[in-house]
Symmetry: C2
Subunit: 342 residues, 2 copies
């Protein structure tokens, strides 16, 4: 198996601001695994929240020793070895996981949704994200997002009310709110959520810091809107602990190290009675299309990462009036759009 | 898709007695699903414990309407439909699930263990079951089981001590004890388990009735041997509730409705920190070989169901000195041994 990786700077349509950070360019690492004449694509979109950068991704990939394996079908053993090679490095591990899954689908000439026995007509509607901004820019963004029936709104900053007011001036669409751990005090969180209950919001994602699970449980007892974990639902072993604290989890390939563990989290969340959302970082169609493969199994999708960019180098899953449309192409279903040298 | 089913009477090498029942013949229903020139095999081994018989299995299969589906790759939708067609009927549902998985493996020309990315060299050693009997017969059975390094002993009756004494006269092998809900009083269960701690026992399966989860938790606080759920771990949604009550779960295809849910239970059990055993009923090599496909993921196997019989109509997974040996044949890896007309 040959691994090749390259940096790629994704350009954002708008400066993207959440409660923690702001940026115009989002760098990712693209990966190719080649074996037996088949290429599998992978991608790492590293998050500073977890101490990752494109540099840590490339360092991790350079340090991998997969010489003992000679076939991507040894998926479980390869991924166990990748997991064991270093702590953390979630997104780099996800890149390898995605590329191996893509390779297997390519080898079998089956799209992953079919490989897993899923119905591609059961994909959910994805929300489209509106980052934190001035009321004027937010109004413009909401108008530009006309084709998307569900908006995801980033709150957790100083001007939460201003943002919701700006959006509600323009649209009555269903809103999903993501506070990204922005409300540090439980009473504030309760107050904010009770206000959002009147504003046509469907659920609230990660209202409180991930370290304050007790606070989140306290909040949940006092509000009606469902709470969805994100920074609290990184890996498989996090899921059972969230029963009674959250109503659902947001699974992201870049946190959970890829499709293998994402699928395990889906099943565990179902067993625990938790709703399931699949989300993303700012990513090319490689990682987005990979995550989209399992969406026939889930309740909510937030897979607009590629749609927020202007230079996605791949064609993959598309959003048609917000609905995820899976192709019949094998594996994760992507093809290179522009000549990208890896 | 064409479904064909037939009854088959499995003959037992020895009269098989557990704490609830005793028998010489174990009837099963064999199923074939044919589509596109490929046949997938399935099997139902119904349990009276759950109100099932070969008659209820055949009735369930006759009532299925899968006319809306035209491809076994629609696995998730087909199995959702099968689940919804009636309550219970675990083993009949498992027969359909196994046959569909076998068909997909056959179509792709991949054994399921490979389809799932597993390493066939990581299968565990299976225990071999010694049913409840007189000391003389038990001694003989233990001698006959010489090649198996781990024995599973059925207790929960009147003569538990007599049985262990008879076994320990002949062998020092690791024993696993299955009480099959036989100890009804918590103090009795504690006393029995504390005694078994001195007898070279690895763990105790289902000491108390499934209805007495509180009693089981009470017992667990007072003993050192790990407790493994069986009658308490029927389906996926049972698993999270067993945290803090049991140390592991026994997954059986005939309880959990097949491979799809078995895999979901494996991942959920891991997330919950529970050990995983895969067990069986008295079954042909069809159901045993199906269950064996996922054993590279688990801790303990008890897949001797076919080895306890004398007229298994299929060749499939074999036990070599107790270790499960998976073949490279596609799907569940079985071929008909005798001419069996379905």
């Amino acid at each position: 198996m040959t691994l090749r990786s390259t940096l790629y700077d994704l350009k954002l349509r708008h400066t993207f601001t959440i409660s923690r950070s702001s940026r115009d360019i989002s760098p990712v690492v693209l990966l190719e695994i080649e074996h037996d004449g088949i290429v599998g694509y992978g991608e790492a979109a590293p998050s500073r929240r977890y101490g990752e950068s494109v540099e840590t991704v490339q360092q991790f990939l350079a340090g991998l020793n997969l010489g003992q394996f000679d076939d991507p079908f040894q998926l479980e053993s390869i991924l166990d070895s990748v997991q064991g090679s270093a702590e953390g490095n979630y997104s780099a591990k996800a890149a390898v996981d995605i590329a191996l899954h893509d390779w297997i689908g390519g080898k079998m000439n089956l799209p992953l949704w079919k490989y897993w026995g899923l119905d591609k007509n059961k994909t959910p509607i994805s929300s489209f994200t509106i980052g934190i901004d001035t009321p004027e820019v937010i109004e413009r963004k909401v108008r530009e997002a006309e084709e998307y029936p569900i908006l995801k709104v980033k709150l957790g900053g100083e001007n939460d009310q201003e943002i919701i007011r700006a959006i509600r001036k323009v649209t009555k669409k269903t809103l999903r709110v993501d506070a990204n751990e922005g409300w540090k005090v439980r009473e504030t969180a309760v107050e904010k959520i009770k206000w959002l209950e009147q504003e046509g919001v469907e659920f609230v994602e990660q209202p409180m810091p991930a370290t304050d699970l007790a606070g989140t449980a306290w909040v949940r007892e006092r509000v009606n809107l469902p709470l969805v974990a994100d920074e609290n639902s990184l890996r498989l072993h996090d899921v059972p602990k969230l029963q009674g604290v959250f109503d659902g989890i947001n699974i992201k390939l870049m946190k959970c190290t890829g499709l293998r563990e994402a699928m395990q989290m889906v099943h565990t969340a179902r067993a625990c009675g938790l709703k399931i959302m699949v989300g993303c970082m700012i990513e090319t169609s490689v990682a987005i299309s990979a995550a989209a493969q399992l969406t026939p199994l889930i309740d909510y999708a937030d897979l607009d990462g590629a749609a927020l960019t202007t230079n996605d180098p791949f064609d993959g899953v598309t959003l048609v009036e917000g609905r995820l449309v899976l192709s019949d192409r094998p594996g994760i279903g992507v093809v290179k759009r522009d000549p990208v040298r890896l």
